[in-house]
């Protein structure tokens, strides 16, 4: 009896907070049929927003994957000054509101900011352009790979790596042949979470991008802009695309991750 009650609570909670709102988004998007929804997501502004979002993710995700693996190796395998500081600083993006991140970037790179005037003099555009949007996205999606890989590295220990070195493998060979295969599912899971976070980022990007339609709009800010312009079908249809992208990443993850590997 208690088991069913627990199940009911879990399903009820997920439905009320997740499934029902998502369902409404889908219903509203297609309220006038598929045609208008399709037209709404194929306007030049919408297409540009999709492309820009994908471009940002294509830069931010590999950057954070590389940084995440290196950082996790440093945290677990090395003892150095400031070890604890690095370990806690990695979690900062999880605690900090993205809007604050956006404002901080604005203060650094905006006109009158620390680097802003120098950049302006040299005709380099960061704020209200792609570089600041990439920076903001990298910042907010930074912890995921690190946090997924650190526990896996701890669990596998360093004996396999030591064994490889006594067998003649250089540190580079040991990394590619021993360490990376051993942490691959942690890295994959980290990449999925990073991608999801990068696609869904709104706050920081919204502040630094200036939200110029057809120029610096991402999928999320495009949804916001359409909503504010009372184009409900446009806003909902773009939301559906976002939701589908998120589901696709999750689906990819479950497909690539065999059951036995997870429980091992």
């Amino acid at each position: 009896m208690a088991r069913y009650a627990l199940r009911l609570v879990a399903i009820g909670y997920v439905s009320a907070l997740l499934l029902v709102p998502l369902g409404i988004v889908f219903r509203r998007a297609f309220a006038d049929g598929v045609g208008p929804a399709w037209d709404a997501v194929t306007t030049p502004a919408a297409l540009h927003a999709f492309w820009l979002t994908i471009l940002i993710a294509l830069i931010a995700v590999p950057a954070n994957t590389l940084f995440g693996v290196v950082c996790a190796l440093a945290i677990v395998r090395r003892r150095f000054r400031g070890h604890g500081l690095v370990n806690s600083a990695v979690d900062l993006p999880l605690a900090l509101s993205p809007v604050v991140v956006g404002l901080a970037l604005l203060l650094l790179y905006g006109r009158g900011g620390w680097f802003g005037s120098w950049l302006f003099d040299h005709d380099v555009r960061v704020i209200f352009a792609l570089p600041s949007m990439v920076l903001a996205t990298i910042f907010v999606s930074l912890p995921f790979v690190v946090r997924e890989v650190v526990p896996v590295l701890r669990e596998i220990g360093d004996e396999q790596e030591q064994a490889a070195s006594t067998l003649g493998a250089s540190s580079w060979q040991t990394f590619w042949r021993i360490t990376l295969p051993a942490i691959r599912w942690g890295v994959a899971y980290g990449i999925v979470l990073t991608t999801a976070r990068a696609l869904g980022e709104f706050g920081a990007v919204s502040v630094v991008s200036g939200r110029i339609a057809g120029r610096t709009e991402t999928m999320t800010t495009h949804v916001g802009e359409r909503f504010e312009a009372f184009d409900l079908v446009g806003a909902y249809a773009a939301s559906v695309v976002l939701a589908l992208a998120a589901m696709a990443t999750l689906l990819l993850m479950t497909m690539f991750q065999p059951r036995e590997e997870r429980t091992r």
């Binding site: 004996e159 396999q160 030591q162 064994a163 006594t166 067998l167 003649g168 493998a169 250089s170 042949r177």
Partner: protein, 320 residues
């Protein structure tokens, strides 16, 4: 020959190795024996290059290897918990060192085949480590270490994680393997029986220092100090004398040199019997004898006996 000269290693305030010098003859099978924390594993890891000593040198066949990376020392290392490459099959585990060295495919294939036969795992080439038993994993780790034809084979408590029966089998097997392959081998153990059964030479370590280096027989009969005496076999303390339980002679009659005692308990262990005694001055000790001797003396709890050490040792500095 492998030589450690004045090796010192500290971990923070803890001195793991305190000016240790050890010589391992080429082709020998040497055991590093000691309780946990005695520095035996650290010494092995220093020889392998997995730890850098704070002071002292490591020489491998006359060459100073102290600054040489573990990759280039020509050592094979076997870990207590196997350190199997979990994502590779047995075959690829064993082939790893050869592939790193870019040996021709045909040679790799032949060598791995030979080694798997040597460690009796030919039928398991395509299994993953998770599908093997502990003993099989350790034999795979041995084959992997031997594949690169190391000058020195180092084993860190190789049988420590295995159950008693498999341990015994693998010990005998290691001894036979060493007689066949003849690679200079050093292994770490805390089990004095294991060291005595397998090794030509035993280095007894305690508190980061070497207490004695000798063969099994000499170590047992001529221990250098109390620590070695009590670590390599059971002992009784009689005033300032150290006596092995089988060197205690029990008689029914006093003969002047004996001391009176009372039997507390008699334990029958098949061939052997153990007799727990309390001397009249309150000191407790135990004697080891054959079942037959025990019956002749007709011992049972409460019996009055007289005790004399047949052979005893006294050491210059007596531990408190």
């Amino acid at each position: 020959m492998i030589e450690a000269r004045g090796v010192t290693k500290r971990f923070g305030d803890f001195v793991a190795l305190d000016d240790v010098s050890v010589q391992v003859p080429g082709g020998s099978l040497t055991a590093l024996l000691g309780p946990s924390g005695s520095g035996k594993s650290t010494l092995l890891r220093v020889i392998a290059g997995l730890e850098a000593p704070d002071d002292g040198d490591v020489l491998i066949f006359g060459e100073n290897a102290t600054a040489v990376a573990p990759q280039k020392r020509g050592v094979g290392f076997v870990f207590q918990h196997y350190a199997a490459f979990k994502h590779m099959t047995v075959w690829h585990n064993v082939a790893f060192g050869l592939k790193i060295r870019r040996r021709p495919k045909a040679e790799v294939k032949e060598r791995v085949g030979q080694l798997l036969e040597l460690v009796q795992l030919s039928g398991f080439a395509h299994r993953y480590p998770a599908q093997l038993s502990g003993g099989q994993r350790q034999r795979m780790a041995l084959a992997r270490a031997l594949a690169v034809e190391p000058k020195v084979l180092l084993l860190d408590e190789p049988f420590g994680a295995l159950d008693a029966r498999v341990r015994k089998e693998l010990r005998a097997w290691l001894r036979r393997l060493h007689d066949d392959v003849h690679v200079t081998t050093v292994f770490v153990t805390h089990d004095q029986e294991e060291a005595m059964e397998v090794a030509d030479q035993i280095v007894v370590m305690n508190d980061g220092r070497v207490e004695q280096t000798a063969g099994a027989r000499e170590l047992y009969d001529e221990p250098a100090n109390e620590f070695v005496m009590s670590f390599v076999g059971p002992v009784n303390r009689l005033d300032n004398d150290w006596v092995r339980p089988h060197d205690l002679e029990l008689t029914r009659e006093s003969n002047g040199a004996t001391r009176p005692a009372r039997v507390e308990r008699v334990i029958h262990l098949g061939f052997e019997a153990r007799v727990e005694l309390e001397l009249d001055d309150g000191e407790e000790l135990w004697a080891q004898m054959t079942q037959e001797q025990c019956e002749e003396l007709d011992l049972e709890p409460g019996s009055r006996v007289h005790v004399r050490p047949r052979r005893a040792r006294t050491f210059a500095s007596t531990q408190p």
